[in-house]
Symmetry: C2
Subunit: 340 residues, 2 copies
């Protein structure tokens, strides 16, 4: 039933000012507004889960990137899951559970439906649609299988290994009969990687020498490096690559908050002498194949061939602090904010 | 006719000590020895041309690389062309013109024939077998077509653009209907690239701002970068790449003579946001296809679709100085030493 007079008292987190380096609490502001009548082709969504992802930092800057900048005063754009309250689009009905990457940090979202997809709440908890069965899952699946091209026996290194993408990459590598080294930033995370996810080695970059640990664990070199971080950690991994190594550049979280360009090792010599390939990718290029991957990941999840760790923060108003924590590696698993 | 008592008074340039940074004249020494009876499977070659190539610097160091190090006291290993004087190998006869990449800096070479190939002196001057129809030609051909995957309309940047490989890459790019920017180190070289080789733009990195010149010439970005140099020039090109750029890492001459690792821009962010590919390659991986490329290059040469510039130094004893010049970009075109 569609009630055309329905109005919603919305709360939303907006970008108050552009972060200078690491984002701070007062770069954000919680404000209220009214969401009212929808036009043809639009829906109103009641937001249930927010997905907090490192790439969102790019949108908070003015610099040109693949994601367009958020304007000052606009709601923070990002993936979310919610329930359709009203619909003037024939593809959606009130009650549908939907996911979209531009819903953003708010309680209610009035939106056109171009970037909204309906999800089936019966195959897995609905928040997995922004996790293992959504963007991070697709990123891990296609980045690993299509960019890294694993062969059983390969040694795979993954950075930010307990994060949303990293935890999956490592498990997909184990499924592919590869040897897996994860790099993470705490003892708890490292212990989880080794004990729960069966990684062959976990390195705590905060108190271990990444270069030496990799060197002694696999003197024959790293065949695949799935890179979520860039920076010094990547320098140390790349100094250990094997001939014909494949390096997937998925994220550069170490660089997102720098005020000026950081210098590092030049990688060309290692790339040349090892005939290595370094490839940057954005998951959207694999869109045509998402369904194949979602079905396969859902099956593996059900069979417990892969497991999925979430880090849940309660309350829309806590999204900025949670996001700042994500930039500092405080999250342990996929970071979600439960809005409702 | 094979005369088993024949002895040759050889002259050869040996590695006297390992260069510390840039090689110096007294890292080399010209010595004499006697070349005498050959064993079954061996030949004696009278060397006519030496090929001086940047990669040879790697062999003069002890550090692990794709080319194994030259031992102190051993002849400088490198490509050369010569005439067979004696043969105890059924594949070769006295009088044959041959080429091989381990013949080295000497007047006579006694060698097994594993790495020796007979060349046809009728299709082109014999020294082209270490040039446009040899290793540099194959490097340009396969590096450009197979690694860079050109599409007509692409903007191609090539560094060390008047060198052995660079001059060919630019011409192959023009043949492919690409727009070509060459980077070189003198006004003469730049003028040659624009006037004789029809490059669309030549940048003299010694007195022009590479970043800005590229930016203003192709604001839409660089689709292909064929990199022979690494270092600061590459930083400036990579800051200008377009979405889906392909970067072939063919050589890193700016890095060969460094005493310690130089820091530079980290390229991961540009690679990620542009979904670019960076690939190191050694020409040997394309060995099975050399004949196709040689025939095609010979045809283009004959039809004057490509031209080929050599920089010829006379006399074996001048090889060390010529090589040092190569490290400093003094050569203009493919550097050869005429031994006989």
């Amino acid at each position: 039933m569609y009630n055309k007079f329905m109005r919603y008292q919305n709360k939303k987190v907006i970008l108050k000012k552009r972060p200078d380096g690491f984002p701070k609490i007062d770069d954000f502001e919680l404000v209220e507004n009214i969401i009212d009548n929808i036009e043809h082709g639009e829906i109103i969504i009641e937001v249930i889960w927010l997905s907090l992802d490192p790439y969102m930092r790019g949108r908070m800057s003015e610099a040109k990137s693949y994601a367009s900048p958020i304007k000052i005063g606009d709601v923070i754009t990002g993936g979310a899951v919610g329930k359709v309250l009203q619909s003037k689009c024939s593809r959606f009905n009130a009650g549908d559970i939907v996911e979209g990457f531009t819903i953003g940090w708010q309680k209610f979202c009035k939106t056109s439906t171009h970037n909204i997809r309906k999800i089936n709440p019966d195959i897995a908890p609905i928040q997995t649609s922004v996790g293992v069965l959504g963007m991070p899952g697709m990123t891990a699946y296609f980045g690993f299988f299509e960019i890294c091209k694993p062969i059983p026996g390969d040694t795979v290194v993954v950075s930010a290994a307990s994060g949303a993408v990293g935890q999956l990459v490592g498990q997909l590598a184990k499924l592919s009969n590869c040897k897996v080294i994860g790099i993470a930033g705490s003892e708890d995370k490292c212990s989880y990687l080794e004990k729960n996810l069966n990684f062959d080695l976990a390195i705590n970059y905060k108190n271990q020498n990444v270069y030496k640990e990799i060197k002694s664990f696999c003197p024959e070199g790293v065949n695949i490096y799935f890179d979520n971080v860039g920076g010094k950690i990547s320098d140390e991994v790349i100094s250990n690559i094997a001939p014909y190594a494949r390096i997937a550049v998925c994220g550069v979280i170490s660089q997102y908050n720098l005020k000026q360009l950081e210098l590092g090792h030049r990688i060309q010599r290692a790339v040349l002498t090892n005939q290595a390939t370094v490839e940057g990718f954005l998951v959207f290029r694999f869109e045509q194949k998402y369904n194949i991957a979602i079905n396969r990941m859902a099956k593996w999840l059900k069979e417990k061939k892969i497991i999925w760790k979430e880090d849940i923060i309660e309350g829309l108003e806590n999204a900025p602090e949670a996001f700042i924590g994500l930039m500092n590696g405080k999250n342990f698993g996929k970071l979600l904010v439960k809005v409702k």
